[in-house]
Each structure stands twice: as C-alpha cells, then as structure tokens.
Symmetry: C2
Subunit: 204 residues, 2 copies
C-alpha cells in the first residue's frame, strides 16, 4: 500500500469527478435500443470466444441463443457441452465439415455453406431467440461459398430487436459497412510461435 498525501488524493478526486461528468454526459446522449449486427474479425484469437461470451451474457439475461457453425465442426469444442447445461435455451447447429483445406471438395463446401445459411435464416426468423451467432461465416463469404449481397440483405431485413454476431477473419467490406459494431482482434503475441500446442480449454 502506498503512502498518499492529501494533495494527491484531492487531485485524484478532481480528475475522477471530471471523468465521471464526461462519462455521465456520454451515457445520457445514448437513447436508442436496437438489435446489433456485430462482427468479430482479424487474425487474433478471441473472435469466436467473445461470441460465446456474449451468448453467456444473453443467457444470463434470460434470452435464447441460436448458433450456426459454418466451418468448424469436424472436431468438438468445449463450448458445446458447456452450453448444453442451458437445455433448449441454446439452439446449436454445426453445419461445417471442418476447415476448407480439410475437405478439399469445393462443391461439398458450397453445399454445406448454403445449408448452414438456411439454418441461419431459420434462427433469425425465430422470435424467441435474442442472439444469433454465425460462427466463421466470414470464411464462407471469403471463399464465395455464399452470395455476399444476399447475406447482407438478410441482415438488413432482420427484425429490429435481433442481435447477430458474425465471426471469422477477413470480414468483407460490405459486411463491415452494414455492421453496428466491428471489433478487430489483432495478434500481438501467440504461444504457437513458441511451440506450444493447442490445448483443452484454450483452443478447443
């Protein structure tokens, strides 16, 4: 614990009072409520993980969550058994057959992506669902497995209170343009570079 004199305390109080005034004014300006189109992109870790974190937050607010995995799915991840605890409050569709370099079959990849997109539309139409996570949709868009214009149009036509999260590297500019919230996860440092392998609870 530091030794603090009265002056430092007073300075801190004044600075923080000022900060609070700015903060309160900013909060007061925001009055809209709307379902958000959220994009998690970039080369860093945390894109899907943060989407699943939002699922948790949504469940804690007593809303239902729908999830479609566009690419992953050839292996199991920890989120699925964990979210199973919430029963039918989570609807989970694993449509992908693994990364595209695993299947090496363009026709099959396109068919899988389109089937996954049908599921996405179904979940987005379900009024009991507050959040739809479209995991790795950006990959399907990047490889042109799905029509970008069709996808963006469906997002723009969604019901006003529905939140949608799209994850995956290399988000298309038209999707970023249509989104309300875009976060880029950048890689500052990665343990794979140091020879550490994928581990339970971290990568899957």
């Amino acid at each position: 614990m530091k030794n603090i004199d009265e002056t430092a305390e007073e300075r801190h109080r004044a600075k923080m009072a000022n900060r609070k005034a700015v903060q309160d004014a900013e909060v007061a300006e925001k009055t809209l409520e709307k379902g958000l189109l959220i994009v998690h992109t970039g080369p860093g870790k945390g894109k899907s993980t943060a989407a699943f974190g939002l699922a948790l937050r949504m469940l804690g607010n007593n809303r239902r969550v729908g999830i479609v995995q566009f690419i992953k799915g050839a292996w199991s991840t920890g989120e699925q058994p964990a979210l199973a605890v919430f029963g039918d409050r989570v609807v989970w569709h694993t449509m992908g057959e693994g990364f595209t370099w695993e299947t090496q079959d363009l026709k099959r990849d396109i068919a899988a992506a389109n089937k996954a997109w049908e599921k996405a539309l179904e979940l987005m139409a379900d009024e009991t669902i507050g959040l739809v996570i479209l995991d790795e949709l950006n990959i399907a868009l990047r490889y042109d497995y799905l029509d970008l214009e069709k996808v963006v149009a469906a997002f723009q036509a969604r019901r006003p209170d529905l939140h949608v999260v799209v994850t995956g590297r290399n988000a298309k500019p038209a999707l970023i343009e249509a989104a309300d919230l875009v976060t880029e996860m950048s890689l500052v440092k990665h343990h794979f570079k140091a020879g550490v392998k994928a581990q339970a609870g971290i990568e899957f």
Copy 2:
C-alpha cells in the same frame, strides 16, 4: 449455388491440399503443453467477453474456473447468473467498487485492488482450478493501485499447468513481455457513436 467446372474444382483441390500440408506441418511442430498467461487488451469490445468465453470452454472440458473482477462490480452483468448454473465449478469474486471515476476515492480504490489481488493469489494457488480470469486487472495496474513487479513475479511463479487471463485496456509492457498470448481488441466501428445505448445481453 454456383456453376463450377472441373478445372476450377481441381484447382481448388490442389490449393487446399497444399494448404492442408502446411497446416499439418505447423501442428506437428507444436508439442509443448503449458499453462498460458493470456492478455486481452486494446480499446475494442470483447476483452472480458472473450475471457468469459474461455471460461465456458474450460467448463466444457471439466475444469474449474476462478474469476476476480478488479474494477467492475458496482452493477450486475449477465455472465454471473449464467455461470451460476455451473455451481461450485465457478468461483467468482467481485472485488471492485465500480470504475475508479465512480468512487473518486484513491485510498479506497487501492485497498479494493489489493484485496482483489489477495483473492487472485488464493485462486491461483487452488490446484482444482484450471483457469483464473483477472478481469480489468490492467486498469488497477495502469493507475498504480497494485505493484506491477509483484504481479508479474506472481504470474511467473505460478504452477506450470495454470492458465491465467488478464483483461483491460492499456496493458503494461512488462505484462505483455511476460505473457504467452496477447490479443489486442481494436475498435473498427462502435454503435455508441450512433447513439445506441448499453443493452442487456450486449453490454451487461
């Protein structure tokens, strides 16, 4: 669905086979298992959310999770009731008294941060716990509420299989230096700018 000729398919197959070979070689090189020190920093959304997503992944792998919130805590978030479903597999300590501009009391902030750090050390010493999340610890370090050297030394002395996630903006360089995995969440676009307010399931 596109009309694809044989050549395009063959090209796709060759490209993806090559990609798979690179991928497989990369995976084979990684043989280490170790508890990671993970840092989520940057001005974007998703730092805490991705940490809670990792908690979910860890729980799905049947590991226990410990959480200390250093700053937040003056209001409730959806994660807490959601994770309550997992019973004593999640240990949650909310030690902060709100953002520092809410308390405006330097001594109280320092005392709260040090109390939170004691809890963090307790969780890190608990061998039944696989992941410890120190939410907003970076804020406490930034304002010098805690001694940086002491904190980094404790991380370096942790047991080899323990994963630790530290969140918050402005991570200190010494912490980044000590970390295995650092992701910076950058703000590409934020709905607050468009006047949208904080909403249940998204911000809390």
